[in-house]
């Protein structure tokens, strides 16, 4: 019943997608589509933008205005789209590498600037597409192709990073907490400003195989064992928190959206300014 809804938003001729059997990314894509469905937005009015990576292959399968950009730059392209045509609903899909490794600067600036873009970070703790190198979210001691002796890098906590940068809506869920995830994405889509949802995905092929989680099943079980609602998490002692991940909405406060502010505070008071250019620009040169 839900599958039908999902498929109605997809480019069916492009399926099956390239993701490995069982990959968490596909589960998230389903959730996204159900959330979009709930908004009632028209396909024509949605732009879906991504960077490069397994997760970033998402736009190719979705029947919106879709854009698969360069690695890490999803939010910067998205900013140009949203700011120049605020009428479009803009969603940005990124991997953990995309969003907070190479794309970290655009991520924090999007959070600061507050254009109405929904950023969905498919965090599978690894660079999937390029063959399993570690990312800024790869767990301590995990094996990746570039941490043959175990990872020693500290992780980003993506919600903390987003909050530190000023984002107004920040949440986390996982690929396996469907349909709860649908709702969180829906709320993020509805938020008038920049919203971030970190979605813990899983990559048994590049991450799991090196870390005793070879099958989707073992990864799903692992996720089940570590994720718990924020409230429950907060009740734990520091020691108990160690290997747990809180999920839910961390922040949701109203903010002033950037493109609207620009129109109100910059364009409206100045558009009637006398300028020699006026004569040249009588006819609107584009029509949004």
């Amino acid at each position: 019943m839900k599958t039908e809804i999902v498929l109605s938003y997809l480019r069916k001729d492009k399926l099956p997608h390239i993701w490995c059997p069982g990959c968490g990314h596909g589960i998230i894509l389903g959730s996204m589509m159900r959330a979009v469905h709930k908004t009632g937005w028209k396909k024509d009015d949605i732009a879906l933008v991504s960077g490069i990576g397994c997760s970033s292959r998402t736009p190719g399968y979705v029947d919106f205005n879709t854009l698969h950009t360069t690695h890490g730059r999803s939010l910067a392209f998205a900013a140009g789209i949203k700011f120049s045509n605020p009428r479009l609903n803009v969603i940005s899909v990124m991997g953990d590498g995309d969003a907070v490794a190479i794309g970290g600067n655009h991520f924090i600036h999007a959070a600061r600037r507050n254009l109405n873009i929904t950023a969905l970070v498919f965090n599978n703790y690894i660079y999937g597409m390029t063959g399993g190198q570690f990312s800024p979210t790869t767990p301590y001691k995990a094996i990746a192709s570039t941490t043959p002796y175990g990872n020693i890098d500290k992780n980003f906590d993506i919600p903390s990073l987003a909050i530190g940068a000023g984002a107004g809506f920040v949440a986390r869920s996982t690929a396996i907490h469907v349909p709860g995830l649908d709702d969180i994405i829906y709320q993020a889509l509805n938020y008038d400003g920049f919203s971030v949802v970190e979605i813990i995905s899983f990559c048994h092929v590049q991450y799991g195989k090196r870390n005793k989680l070879k099958t989707p099943l073992s990864m799903i079980d692992w996720l089940k064992s570590i994720a718990l609602p924020i409230a429950a998490y907060e009740k734990l002692g520091e020691e108990q928190r160690r290997d747990k991940i809180p999920i839910g909405i961390f922040k949701n406060i109203p903010t002033e959206e950037y493109s609207q502010k620009y129109i109100k505070e910059i364009i409206d008071p100045n558009k009637s300014k006398d300028s020699i250019l006026k004569d040249y620009c009588k006819a609107k040169l584009y029509d949004l």
């Binding site: 390239i18 993701w19 490995c20 397994c54 999937g128 597409m129 390029t130 063959g131 092929v205 590049q206």
Partner: protein, 184 residues
């Protein structure tokens, strides 16, 4: 006269065809003192998709490392069979996995052998992953290009520590299977 033997190992990502390509090349170049190159094609970026591994063995320097005149094709998927079957040279050999290739075509001037490869791996070892070693055994037997011991040396040097035994067994099984196919 110099010789050049081209082997194309084709199938899907994850079937371990690149590994057996490397074993073949290593057996030839290090243990048999011939020259050999192994190269491959990938799917999108580094993962998934179709896989093609090519081994050239020669007693001379190998200029061109890509297969042009394929002497031996191993086809581990239908797609691979369809795509590369025709490209095998006159007098060449094609072996395909019966489990995966359901509609083999006729290929003129080529000896085509259907073989239970994945099936055998599952049946004998409950490990589809060693299908590649079974296939390697068949390749070695049918091609007759390298000595069996040479190849075993190369297997030992290339497979993960602790898995030598099962891999060698699978190889042997394939080798025997090869004899059987020849006997057809």
């Amino acid at each position: 006269m110099s010789f050049r033997y081209e082997i194309r190992l084709s199938g899907a990502g994850g079937q371990g065809l690149i590994l057996i390509g490397k074993i073949l090349a290593e057996a030839a170049a290090i243990f048999a003192d011939l020259n050999a190159t192994q190269s491959q094609s990938y799917g999108p970026e580094s993962r998934g998709g179709a896989s093609r591994s090519e081994v050239i063995i020669s007693d001379e320097d190998i200029d061109y490392p890509k297969a042009g005149n394929v002497d031996f094709l191993l086809a581990m998927t239908q797609e691979a069979f369809d795509k590369y079957g025709e490209m095998t040279k006159n007098g060449g050999i094609v072996v395909y996995d019966m489990e995966m290739v359901h509609t083999p075509r006729q290929l003129e001037g080529v000896r085509v052998f259907p073989a239970q490869i994945t099936e055998l791996a599952i049946k004998e070892f409950s490990k589809p992953i060693v299908a590649n070693m079974v296939a390697l055994g068949i390749v070695i037997n049918l091609s007759n290009i390298l000595g069996i011991e040479t190849v075993k040396e190369a297997i030992k040097s290339r497979v993960p520590k602790g898995t030598e035994e099962i891999n060698l067994k699978a190889f042997d099984l394939g080798y025997e299977k090869g004899k059987e196919l020849q006997g057809l």
